[in-house]
Symmetry: C2
Subunit: 217 residues, 2 copies
């Protein structure tokens, strides 16, 4: 059955690969699954046809036969559950890999989203300059804890898993601010993710769509 | 095998049930699983013994034999995967229920966490009063989209699932601000969750620990 995902016709990051479709592309590439892409403008994302697929009017979505999913974490998990290479076989190791998926999305990403919000939606507010260091420090708190846990391991729990895919994708969002590079072991962890052939293919495929777009900054 | 979870010895909410252990207790009650509780002080949560279990120094954790998990979403999913009552049988319906778990944690909860942060960590800042309406409006945006999707259904996708458990738990955090009650259909949805016998038992068990604690506000 054909898999179809949605993504921005012009990503706000101009092709840096930070939009969430890259996470799904990466999982599909790790699983060696072919897929098609449907491009959406910002206005199309808010129209009823897309809102039926995605109640929050975002990308990506995932369609496969009569199954329609939204929410990146769920889509990556759906792929990981059905194809080799993204979740370990042992029950306990599998549960821990899933834990890292949720940790990336609910413990590590929220302060990073707050940093994006502070920059994009509140960058012109009178409090922006004074508040920004607090927001960045909350990101640093999480990254510091994560770097302690990672230690000198290659991946978060044994072999590469969907938990690493999600964590690397979330951490990539801290690179433009410079915060990622304050944590050399995490920067190296992210670089290991980026070096995977599947990531490279995912990155290239989103870049091919967005290369003509001026970077958002 | 005995299941042991951790929770605050004195919850910051004084027993309102908003700490994340309530989500895990609720799942355990829906699955009719007995469990034990280990209470932690705020300082114990940051000590090495607990950080080995939970790299971000939070509650809850979940221990069962030689399996140790952290991250509420992962724990609830682990329970839901192994016991009846929290995920539907059909593959597509199951994938959609899992989607709602991730949506609760990565699309709906982040702006709600930001509201908590604005109140708890930035309530004394000079920008607090002017900024708060923006933060609240971002929560309202998400709740408005969710209420459109819920429509007049009882639950998000057919029968009650772990997706509803997680969404109701996340939405409960918007009640103290008054925002939940601005969306009557979501307030009724949350009330349906609270009316479940399993939720009532989970709530009562956390209240029994926290009843003596003065509410935080």
């Amino acid at each position: 059955m054909t898999i179809t995902i949605t993504c921005f016709d012009r990503s706000p990051d101009g092709g840096k690969g930070l939009a969430r479709d890259t996470r799904v592309r990466w999982a599909l590439e790790e699983a060696a699954l072919p897929y098609e892409v449907r491009l959406l403008s910002f206005s199309a994302m808010k129209e009823p046809a897309h809102l039926r697929l995605h109640p929050f009017g975002q990308i990506p979505t995932y369609e496969e036969g009569d199954l329609a999913l939204f929410e990146t974490g769920a889509i990556v998990f759906h792929i990981a559950e059905r194809h080799a290479g993204l979740l370990p076989d042992g029950a306990n190791a599998r549960a821990r890999a899933i834990t890292w998926m949720f940790a990336a999305l609910n413990s590590v990403e929220p302060p990073i989203l707050e940093l994006s919000t502070a920059r994009i939606l509140e960058g012109d507010k009178p409090w922006s300059a004074e508040r920004m260091p607090l927001v960045k420090d909350r990101v640093r708190d999480r990254l510091g804890q994560l770097s302690v846990r990672l230690g000198d391991a290659d991946w978060l729990d044994g072999a590469f898993s969907a938990g690493d895919l999600m964590m690397v994708s979330v951490l990539l969002r801290t690179r433009p601010s410079g915060i990622l590079d304050e944590f050399p072991s995490l920067a190296a962890y992210v670089a290991r993710g980026e070096a995977r052939p599947a990531y490279k293919r995912a990155f290239a495929s989103q870049l091919a769509i967005n290369a003509g777009t001026p970077p958002a900054g």
